[in-house]
């Protein structure tokens, strides 16, 4: 069934037209050119991201051959998202998080809600070893053990629930091959085999730190016309994670619903966990709108006589923001004005200050992936994909 579905998706992807017109403000979707521009900007600003060409046979012709997808390797993931189960009691702990000056905006309107800051995870402190808990169990228990309902429960979600426990790599499978005589020479100069010292990985507030690392890829999804995120995980010993283990790092709202294991489009055989992009466009639209709205308010204040008191050191970037709002207000945006910046323009974007108020460009599409990563960070809260907070 899954194979059929995959083929259907492949065909659908093949038949769907390449988006040519810039739509990112109206729909949250971007064109391949804009994807490349945003990717160039991301890789320029945050060098941990780099372009990959992928397998030549799987190259997409609407993207440059050497810029098929973005990758960053070794993204740390300190603890499991399942240990971050978010309850109403945690609402008090929400913190407003400033988006920061790279967007040229300041003030309350631009703050994001950071939901998982400074919470005391008391229940975890009580039983620190409880990280591998499987949420599906409760469902089965609650719904009683009567044969039918349990059977139904197992049918619908049990396929995964029953799976969660099974396929951790069975160490017994490894033939006993320890070789005693292999290294006869005594070796004083090798440090103790601890990869990470126990004292450094302290039991932090009852949460055992199990440092996993992830390879994160961003591809362009032609059908949904949005970027798409892919995850390949490794445990602290560098052993690839199984799908159930990866789902531990996905917030409970999304595991097994929007995050699934799919064939990676730039490899003939590779499978990776992916966030399904069907809602990306609408979420991105909301986020982008929200940002534009806040700029409108600031602009009104500015028009009302007060000079813009933004501490942002780059006024030109600011004017681009305002410009975007101006055009949105005057309704000139849907007429297909050429907004897609060229890659060369994007690479000079952080400092490029040539545009005045007349040269209206709107929210630079270059920021798209930066914003996108902040959105993804909410789905995988413990994987530090959003390196942009460092700025």
């Amino acid at each position: 069934m899954h194979a059929i579905q995959s083929h259907y998706w492949a065909v659908r992807d093949y038949l769907s037209p390449v988006l040519r017109e810039s739509k990112f403000k109206e729909h949250g979707r971007i064109t391949p050119d804009e994807f490349v521009a945003a990717g160039d900007f991301l890789a320029y600003k945050f060098p941990v991201w780099s372009w990959e060409k992928g397998e030549a046979s799987k190259a997409k012709e609407y993207l440059p051959a050497d810029k098929q997808y973005l990758v960053t390797r070794g993204v740390p993931c300190l603890r499991r998202a399942t240990s971050l189960a978010y309850t109403d009691a945690d609402e008090d702990a929400e913190q407003l998080l400033s988006v920061g000056p790279e967007f040229g905006t300041q003030g309350k309107e631009d703050e994001w809600v950071q939901t998982h800051s400074g919470r005391t995870t008391t229940d975890n402190a009580a039983n620190p070893g409880d990280i591998d808990e499987i949420p599906d169990d409760d469902f089965v228990h609650e719904h009683g053990a009567s044969g039918l309902s349990r059977g139904v429960a197992n049918m619908s979600i049990g396929g995964s629930g029953g799976h969660v426990e099974a396929p951790t790599p069975d160490l017994d499978d490894i033939p006993d091959m320890e070789e005693e005589g292999l290294e006869e020479a005594e070796d004083d100069a090798a440090a103790a085999p601890t990869v990470i010292e126990a004292k450094d990985v302290e039991v932090a507030r009852g949460n055992l730190l199990q440092v996993r690392t992830y390879d994160v890829m961003i591809t362009y999804d032609k059908y949904y016309q949005t970027p798409r995120i892919w995850l390949l995980g490794y445990d602290e010993n560098g052993v690839p994670l199984t799908p159930p283990q990866i789902f531990q790092d996905v917030s409970a709202d999304h595991a097994l619903k929007t995050v699934t294991i799919e064939a990676f489009p730039h490899s003939a055989t590779l499978q990776a966990a992916s966030v399904h992009p069907c809602k990306h466009a609408s979420v991105m639209k909301k986020v982008i709108e929200r940002m534009n709205t806040s700029v409108v308010e600031e602009q009104r204040k500015a028009v009302g006589g007060k000079p813009a008191t933004s501490p942002s050191s780059d006024p030109s970037k600011r004017s681009k923001w305002l410009g975007g709002v101006v055009r949105k207000v005057t309704g000139g945006s849907s007429s297909g004005t050429p907004t897609s910046p060229t890659p060369t323009a994007s690479s000079s974007a952080p400092g490029g200050g040539e545009a005045g108020l007349e040269d209206v460009e709107g929210m630079r599409v270059d920021f798209y992936l930066v914003v996108f990563l902040k959105f993804i960070a909410s789905i995988v809260p413990t994987i530090e994909v959003d390196s942009t907070t460092a700025f």
Binding site: P169, M177, P240
Partner: protein, 344 residues
Amino acid sequence: MTVVQFNPLTSTVSPSLWHALTKLKIDVLKLSQDTVPISASYSAGRTVTDRETGTDVPLPSTLTVAGEAFEATTTLPSHSVSALGVLKNFNTIEEFKAADKQALFNDVAQEIWNSIKSSPDPSKDLSRFLLITFADLKKYKFYYWFAFPAFISKPAWEIEESGWQTAEDNLGRGALESIFTSAQSLGGSSTPAFFLARPSSIPSEYETAPLGQYATFFANTAQSSRIVAFLDPSAHPQHPGWPLRNALFYISYLHSLSPHSAQPLRLSVLCLRDSELPGPEKPWKSRFGIVSLPLAPGASAPLEEGGARPAAVGWEKNTLGKLAPRMADLAPMMDPTQLADQAV
């Protein structure tokens, strides 16, 4: 004085490598068990700040083998240096078990030793590695074992009582920045795996040179001013990374050939753990230590030219800390029936 202890390298194998190996095995290697060249990379060890507690968690860099490891030209990930090695794939698990692993290990060690003895700059060979594999293609299981040969230095290198300290305290920010920028231009655009640094004629400025120029570059430099720097995959405060081991061995070899071989050797080592210049408020993460090589009792020259290859160690331990192969079970990610269960 305590013996310098090095943090062993560990491996991270991308699942895409196993896909590439499967393809290589079916299309190219078939039943051949010849060794094939393979490339990998490592970067500087990092510390990540835990957002919840604010503490810094050390995150050592691992030797990462990616899917394009078999390709002749690969693009290195940013801030990484490459390590070259050989892969030997066995056709059956019995052959894998029965293989003369020590012989394979010695072959790689010999290559490093040859390079140390004869190459003008052995930098790229100092981190050579061996990877033996058995691919169970039907069960999607891959058995593998890495070895990172490192020569045992006799007598062992020692570190001063003060131990490894922050480079910032010892050298100062200005000096570090100078070394860092100079090294970047030395390695093209990224930091080279190993390099040398000495104070230049301009005050508080430093010059750098490739490791291979040790003799000429340091000819007129006082021992206290000689800095050997390397990109350090370790994140441990008191243990430098494994690659330093062969670099120090190379230097001790050069020293044994030099006319000053009767004198003890003393060096400053810079463990570079910053992949970019830190911001004005952020501290440097690099470490600094002064190491010395005591004279071997009874022998003035610990090594002789043309002598036998010294003993080496470096098999990677498995996840249980034993000397045994590791296994990557990709069935959950490759087996069609298991994947079907995951599908929504």
